[in-house]
Symmetry: D2
Subunit: 298 residues, 4 copies
Amino acid sequence: MELNGVQIEDTFAEAFPIKIARVLITGATKKWALVAAQEATGFGTSVIMCPAEAGIEKVVTGDETPDGRPGAYIQICTFGYKALEEQLLKRLGQCVLTAPTAAMWNGLPKAEKQFDTGFKLKFFGDGFESETNIGGRKAYKIPMMQGDFVAEHNIGAQDAVAGGNFFIMAENQMAALAAAENAVDAIALLDGTITPFPGGIVASGSKVGSINYSKFMKATTNEKFSPSIKAKIKDTLVPADVKAIFEIVINGLSVEDISRSMKAGIHAAVTVPGVKKITAGNYGGTLGPFKFHLKDMI
Amino acid sequence: MELNGVQIEDTFAEAFPIKIARVLITGATKKWALVAAQEATGFGTSVIMCPAEAGIEKVVTGDETPDGRPGAYIQICTFGYKALEEQLLKRLGQCVLTAPTAAMWNGLPKAEKQFDTGFKLKFFGDGFESETNIGGRKAYKIPMMQGDFVAEHNIGAQDAVAGGNFFIMAENQMAALAAAENAVDAIALLDGTITPFPGGIVASGSKVGSINYSKFMKATTNEKFSPSIKAKIKDTLVPADVKAIFEIVINGLSVEDISRSMKAGIHAAVTVPGVKKITAGNYGGTLGPFKFHLKDMI
Amino acid sequence: MELNGVQIEDTFAEAFPIKIARVLITGATKKWALVAAQEATGFGTSVIMCPAEAGIEKVVTGDETPDGRPGAYIQICTFGYKALEEQLLKRLGQCVLTAPTAAMWNGLPKAEKQFDTGFKLKFFGDGFESETNIGGRKAYKIPMMQGDFVAEHNIGAQDAVAGGNFFIMAENQMAALAAAENAVDAIALLDGTITPFPGGIVASGSKVGSINYSKFMKATTNEKFSPSIKAKIKDTLVPADVKAIFEIVINGLSVEDISRSMKAGIHAAVTVPGVKKITAGNYGGTLGPFKFHLKDMI
Amino acid sequence: MELNGVQIEDTFAEAFPIKIARVLITGATKKWALVAAQEATGFGTSVIMCPAEAGIEKVVTGDETPDGRPGAYIQICTFGYKALEEQLLKRLGQCVLTAPTAAMWNGLPKAEKQFDTGFKLKFFGDGFESETNIGGRKAYKIPMMQGDFVAEHNIGAQDAVAGGNFFIMAENQMAALAAAENAVDAIALLDGTITPFPGGIVASGSKVGSINYSKFMKATTNEKFSPSIKAKIKDTLVPADVKAIFEIVINGLSVEDISRSMKAGIHAAVTVPGVKKITAGNYGGTLGPFKFHLKDMI
């Protein structure tokens, strides 16, 4: 298969279940909403060693927010609801409540699962806080040095999907990187998904387990996809004309959301000169129940 | 005292000891060095509920880096070295090793305390890694999908200072915020310090303990500095003409570094119209051994 | 009238006819499309002394562009078509043809008025250029040092509207400025309009003519709206609680486009604390045939 | 010659005399200083068809500005002083006086040539303006809607140098572009120089005159350096492994300034993977009196 002259491998991305909480952060301007969103989603690339996977889903205007101010949806992802509630408390309490002009709103008000994170954070007000209702949302006004912080009572969460992905293989590192940046820019405009790695891009796609350090390493470099050692790897999967590969990992609220984002990302990536091939990561179907076939993306 | 027509209170900021590790992250361009630095220092505002305090210290050109590429120094801060080593492993392993084009270097090569974080991360290479020497630094090349990741063997750490601070009091929130932004921009150019809160700014300056929720809250809003309730607080410290206060919190490698940054930040803040007063946070000298007198800043 | 607690004056903005050419600039990534768009629209605030009024209308994804790459629509405005054609040649030839990875496309392919700017620019190819068809658009490939530059044959233009506006009056300069930034961010997402002044904002709203320098000045400061001298101006229009005013000037393809953008901008501005009043600039209906009543914006 | 494994051709860049005016623009924050600087230097890539060449030289902190606010130096370049004065009046009057929070200061106070641009702009104040002295500079306060605009009386200019340059040749377009971006970032930190093209980068390096359209084209594509047609050009200068070339053009106050910036830019460019060769543009010494030998840059 080909798209815009770039080979698309007939394979699939394999993804697995996760829990996602979704928060809408608003600010006095778009800039300040994003400052809070960025701090709250940092140190959040992979649950292997980060306390959560997290990212900014999309920016919205005041037309779509309870307080009429610009905002950004973020997603925070963990394997279980207990860890998720803890992460919400910590990340919203330390990175949104503390952020200039930010307010926090429930990003999944219709979800069955609701955490009373706003209620818990109101105790920072030390008795000076008050209940309020803004845009139909039950919330708290917490007096602080900057003025009031507004926190909605509940933050919703739901079953979701992690690990949607595709690989961008290119002539060299800068071509692969520009294509990855283009893909992330396109995905950033879409509903329901995040790309949790730095700048939305994974430099270090890994395999489960280890050949040489199996006693203590659970995940190691994917040597079959490592261009700098392809001459040494008999069953290398790096094409002859490829010197760099970046992976885009996508988490999202639904299979449909991830499909849409994979499709947009792949279409954006193949427009960049020097891109040679798109493929995806899977474990033969042993890892997760969700399969995203690249043939459906073109 | 006055500076540029703004009242400077004759008080002091009180700071306390912390451990700081310092890492130099380089990238193919300044943008990509900053992408890694930002992810690695996110969710890092306050050790109250974040796993570390962290921030970007300053940007450097290729003249000042082992691999000749542009870079950014980051600082990661915890109360003890054990937690610091764990944070280095997690934050560098998950947010720098994974980041496009990033490399990691020792930011304190002369410090007595050295962690072999680079050595530990090399095992991600699964036996395909190799030792190298770049710019006089012992390092590892770890083959990955993007190409090689380079990690210096050691990352240094030292005794340092946390909690340098000043408060910007202004006519209204946007004046206080522009002044705070200006202060953070000025501090960002200086050696040795970080401003770990979102955008470098604290919206929610707190007091130790609680009046009404003392059984379960260790830190709560500083109601005496809360403009929206000043009419209700008998001993309010909010001046009559002030409606918003932002705090700049500064961690740094030395007392001198923090002094320099406080001075630069205060001078930058008072140029913004609408700023009325600068003061600082202290606990009467009971919290920490370091005092930064505002009279020395003007 | 009030909106979000801010007084809206019952007045109108007065606008006048202009000619607008609209160009779609694409690039390898969103960043590079914007680099070209920014250069091409600079030195373009007011036809009083700039060769054109110009601005970036909106950013679009590859789904909406002939070459599948991300892009930005720009508008270039002059009073007549002759000046407009000259500006197109100069600005596209010097700021888009020269810009890394940029391509130029007709932003008004259905307009009656079409300039063959792409055809004229092809001669830069010195005979090595060739005709092509991309996405149904007749275009030229011009070989250059970076590779080929692609220019569509025609660029369309039409009768349009300039000078839609509103004034943001606030407690102080930083509040007015944050509100103006918020308004410009909101308008930047909408079709059909630009805000040609620096950052989209006018600091220096003027009046036609002059009191004291009428022999040589055609436009001078609007002293009735100047806060710093309001004590000296008998018929000052600066409210007692206002210390700063910014104006947003909007050009656009149609009356409807400008109405939509004024409405969005005003709604965004009034959410910022410290904003006291919104009004608009007119000359009693003597200047232009287009009236935008603020009462229709709320 | 080689630098970091990249071939450096033993050739020289040829530059020619120009006149440069230098202006310091300050703003309430770094962001707003840059907004004004960007507007004032737009549509300013080449004097072939732009009214001036212009660019941002460097950003400075409040320590280095008359009003203690952050700022940016810009340069405006034309062949003669008459055109330069006109450009100063138009660009500062339309793009700085109109810009939120901006002020303008003399960037060459010791130059022999001084234009009274600030004096001329004060008449916008319509008699309400007043003379002032800030940081030892004679200036005017012009009351406007935002508050006062401050303009220094004089703006200095001097004989200077235009057309310093180097070419970055790379495996493909994205590698050449990342190297060019890196070079521009490095040069942006240095005194005395600007890179006037879009994003600092030239996509369309040209030759003087024309082969096929000599009757009406004074400058056309440099077909010997055009990778997409190299198979057709007998005496092509595009190396076999090169598919894209970007040029960095540098104007500056002195030969030394340009030398320093060329050196920094070349060193930054060669760190990017995929870069194959650095060369420079000259006309055999017939165009200008200034020669910059690449062998002196390594």
